[in-house]
Amino acid sequence: MKSKEPPASRPDDAPPRRSFLGQTGGAAMALALATSYGTCGAYGLRFLYPARPPRRIWQFVAVADRLQPGESMPFRAPDGQRITVARQGEAGTVEDFIALGSTCPHLGCQVHWQPDRQRFFCPCHNGVFDPRGKGIGGPPGEAGQSLPRFPLKLEGGLLYIEVPAEGLLV
């Protein structure tokens, strides 16, 4: 009786093939792990990042003609920020007007007006601004920073301002 011959084998190739398969499998698993955990990590980071961009809205300020050249008026944004809106020209365009915020451009503290010295002063790091909001002393003066200006628009003789709608008081 003829015995069955074992199937042709290449014993010399077996270990490299096995180790190749093992290494490929290991690498694929490592890649899958890195991808899945990396994706979860990225989702986690995105979760911590604010969901929406900061909202800004246009708000009515005043009837433009009521504000004469050289006059100014206080305005309070929805987030509570104090803004000074002043008229500095007579051309009848939006360029006549300027809106200055009270948030110091240095590190975000609130400036206040010092009438005796005719200047805005920031108590956090001694920032000083002239009445037009230009930094003239302290770190903002050194860095050439000014008080923030808010966009204005004139529509049908009415003055509007664009302000942030995000903050602790909103």
């Binding site: 240095h106 590190l107 975000g108 903050g167």
Partner: protein, 349 residues
């Protein structure tokens, strides 16, 4: 062996000899002097912070509507709340002070040199993490200092090139302080940063155990005197004594100089006189002297140099053997820090 001991030995297979070896690291003789034990002091105070912090968290509410009221309740109504909050605040102060002293001791004795460079770097990470924990801690009270401190802190990160704006948004959960900000600070203060400190501390102590403590010999030590003593019980007793002194000191401070409540946070008004906690006086004064970008980048650079100092120092000593440059740098640095801190403390603006 009793039945209980046998039962335990089967379930916890550690031989008494192994335990003795693990706990009985030979301690160099110079550690009999207490000022060489300043490294253990912040570690002890960290445990105090964890315990008092967990207790305070039972009443604290991390929302802008309730945070201030909950801290007022802890301070004025809850039984011993004033004492526990006082201990927490003073332990933070002593922890930072002892870390600075420990770092100065390590610096001026050159204990950061080869092969201990990595442990100096771990120590620097610990210092920065503890300072961040202090910063997020006083932000939680939601008094004026808390709000404006958080605002200034977030805007400082904003000045970092490229990533600053994203870091600020991540920290504040928005472009400005909003209703999600405080819970973020609370999570950082009560979970993320303490766990980081714990891991760094573990690494710090592991490296000390692996490398052993640097040895110093003093003139009054005779050649026949033993150079080491046992960790257990000798050094352990020293640490216990330090722990006892610290507890007495903390109790006295919490009672004699109790914590108070400042005015509640007002996002519309920055107070005329505002200052951070004392450990940030130096940074606060620095920010007044230069523009924000220059101040932040220079502070970052100084921290970076401090972080890599063991390698910079090694390079200097290779170039100029026998140089005492590190002592001069350390003295100048310490005097500058003290000078700026005293200056900020002495003036209103």
């Amino acid at each position: 062996m009793s039945a209980v001991s046998r039962w335990l030995a089967e379930r916890i297979p550690v031989q008494p000899g192994q335990l003795r070896e693990l706990t009985n690291e030979p301690v160099p003789n110079h550690l009999r002097r207490w000022w060489f034990c300043l490294g253990g002091t912040p570690a002890y105070l960290f445990v105090v912070q964890i315990v008092t912090g967990i207790l305070l968290a039972f009443y604290y509410e991390a929302s802008p509507e309730h945070a201030y009221e909950s801290v007022r309740y802890i301070t004025e109504e809850a039984a011993y709340g004033w004492f526990l909050r006082g201990i927490h605040k003073w332990a933070a102060t002593l922890m930072i002070a002892s870390m600075i002293l420990h770092q100065m001791r390590v610096f001026f004795t050159g204990a950061y040199r080869k092969p201990r460079e990595l442990n100096w770097m771990v120590g620097m990470c610990l210092l920065v993490t503890v300072l961040l924990t202090g910063f997020t801690g006083y932000s939680l009270v939601f008094e004026q200092l808390s709000y404006w401190g958080a605002t200034v802190g977030a805007n400082i990160t904003d000045t970092v090139p490229f990533v600053g704006a994203h870091m600020k948004r991540l920290l504040l959960a928005g472009d400005a302080y909003n209703e999600h900000t405080l819970s973020r600070f609370f999570l950082l203060h009560a979970a993320v940063l303490p766990v980081t400190i714990g891991l760094l501390l573990f690494l710090h102590i592991t490296l000390i155990r692996l490398q052993g403590v640097t040895e110093f010999h003093f003139e009054d030590e005779g050649p026949s005197e033993p150079k080491f003593f046992n960790f257990f019980p000798d050094h352990f007793l020293t640490e216990l004594a330090i722990g006892l002194v610290l507890m007495v000191l903390l109790s006295v401070l919490a009672t004699a100089l109790p914590v108070t409540m400042g005015p509640k946070a007002d996002p519309l008004t920055t107070p005329e006189i505002i200052k951070p906690e004392w450990f940030f006086y130096v940074a606060f004064r620095w920010l007044k002297l230069f523009s924000a970008t220059v101040a932040v980048l220079s502070m970052g650079f100084i921290l970076f140099v401090m972080f890599l100092w063991p390698f910079i120092d090694a390079w200097i000593r290779r170039r100029w053997p026998g140089s005492e440059f590190s002592v001069w740098v350390g003295t100048a640095g310490a005097l500058t820090i003290i000078g700026l801190t005293v200056w900020e403390a002495a003036v209103a603006h």
